[in-house]
Assembly symmetry: C2
Homo-oligomer: 320 residues x 2
């Protein structure tokens, strides 16, 4: 049975993949057991993060992008992170009507996942889910977030290619894109570009891209110049250009050796996420809340508090 699931994932069977992703999200130990087995078969897919402020039309843009990539006969996995989804113990297939047109296409696999709490939610199950889709043989794996909170930042470490989606008409809406993301985006798209205010928004993004050039932490791969695209996803405009940019970025990553480097970062972040998650679950207890409340009320000193926290985590030792 378990071996059938592993074989099913490696053969690209949707039912097997869906089941493992549910296990991962449920912390069912069979989930990580499968990941351990299929890990050697991973490392090939291009992971593409798509993020941006709420209201930017990321879902519609993703839908258009999937259709365009399918037209090019690429197999596409989509993980839609939706913290607002009422999480019912596993991923929900087919909960997105707008994706319905891909529902019968075996070359597309779509999962919605909740984030279930803030502590490493994205890194823990999303990293694992990406490995499953990778082992299933999808060429590209698109991870779409709603663009609120820490998962936006996490996605930068998760993806080979990060696409930032903006939208005109929110006034100074560059503000809605977190600064860390502006630094990290590989491709920028202004969606709903037929709206009033497009030119002003375009100018703002141009300026931000100019400002960030010397302040980036991760340099662009050699030969990559960050594109600023326009799209009207609802009218199906801009899909080919976005697909071109994503595939061109893959070429640039591979030509410069950056693909392997970003893959290495992905795995490192996955490991650190698992370690943090484990330590957090050990320390995020009523007892640790009580310790923090005591130090915040100045009833105990920070060293005593830190020792109590470490004891709760299970690693003792006197602090110096």
């Amino acid at each position: 049975m378990f071996d059938d699931i592993v074989a099913g994932v490696l053969a690209g069977k949707v039912a097997a993949g869906a089941r493992v992703i549910r296990w991962l999200d449920d912390r069912d130990p069979r989930g990580s057991a499968v990941v351990r087995q299929i890990f050697p078969a991973t490392g090939r897919a291009q992971i593409v993060g798509i993020t941006g402020p709420p209201g930017a039309g990321k879902s519609t843009l993703t839908d258009m992008l999937v259709a365009e990539l399918r037209r090019r006969e690429l197999r596409v996995g989509v993980i839609a992170i939706d913290p607002s989804s009422p999480f019912t113990g596993g991923a929900i297939l087919g909960d997105r009507v707008r994706m319905a047109r891909h529902a019968l296409d075996p070359g597309v696999f779509i999962r919605s996942m909740g984030t279930r709490g803030q502590a490493g939610g994205l890194s823990r199950s999303t990293h694992g889910a990406c490995l499953i889709l990778d082992a299933m043989g999808y060429d590209l794996i698109i991870v779409e977030t709603v663009g609120v909170g820490q998962e936006e930042i996490d996605i930068v470490h998760l993806a080979h290619t990060t696409v930032i989606v903006g939208v005109p008409g929110l006034g100074d809406e560059v503000q809605a894109v977190k600064a860390g993301l502006l630094e990290a985006g590989d491709i920028f798209v202004i969606n709903k570009a037929d709206r009033e205010g497009y030119l002003a928004t375009h100018r703002q993004y141009e300026m931000m891209l100019h400002l960030r050039e010397t302040s980036r932490r991760n340099p662009d791969p050699a030969g990559w110049s960050v594109p600023l695209l326009r799209a009207v996803a609802q009218n199906n405009e801009g899909g080919p250009e976005l697909a071109d940019a994503i595939l061109a970025h893959l070429d640039a990553l591979e030509a410069s050796g950056a693909f392997a480097r970003r893959s290495a970062t992905r795995e490192r972040e996955h490991v650190l996420g698992l370690v943090r998650d484990h330590l957090m679950r050990r320390s995020l207890t009523a007892e640790s809340d009580a310790v923090m409340a005591q130090v915040e009320a100045r009833l105990i000193d920070p060293y005593t508090a830190a020792e109590k926290m470490l004891a709760l985590i299970g690693t003792g030792g006197k602090l110096k």
Copy 2:
């Protein structure tokens, strides 16, 4: 002897305070032992972080600010974080010629500290040093960083009041201020304001301040409107306005209850810094480097790697 040091700190004796800060930096257990003793006597001082890009003249500005605060008969402690200082096993008193005019003033206490490695350097000893200066009875404690790296961001959690120093003439120099800081600054000062390009820089900061208004994570205390000041510290211009702004910010913090909230955040960050520092020292070993190298080379899977890391930290357990 040890009790004499504790009593000396509580009596505001410079020699005692200097010794404990050296202990803290050396990880001499006597350092944390003193902090544990004096902790109940802390919580009164206003911690002021001063940061900004290299070349902004932060040291000269701090010097001017100290002189102005002394004119108002306030006692001032200064901790200058200098990662480039050749760290010789303790803080170096009087190593800054420009501060010489305060050297004989018992109302001013100045320490330079290295950061000694990136892993929580600022949080670990700087938090402790602030508590010592607090217990010594200084009204304000100024923590000045060179504005490079993570300590800039850490300072936001360390300070009640964060002052960001900019400077004209570096072209688009807003870029040199990390985005997280732009979000977190309570007071902005453009120093060297007699230089060419001041108006352009002023406009850039105004725009950034406008942009950030709706994207801040920590809202301003009620009634606080972030000021954008000008200064020419070398000519002693702008000191009174900066001192006014810092003291007005304290009033706003106290009136709104935000002072206690930021103090609580300080202590929480201090504890988390100590916990992280302890775990990092346990995990940052040649063995853990080897584990990460194995997963980056895809020789072992992330779950196995995480379990190895946890074993190195000293807290075992099977990952799910």
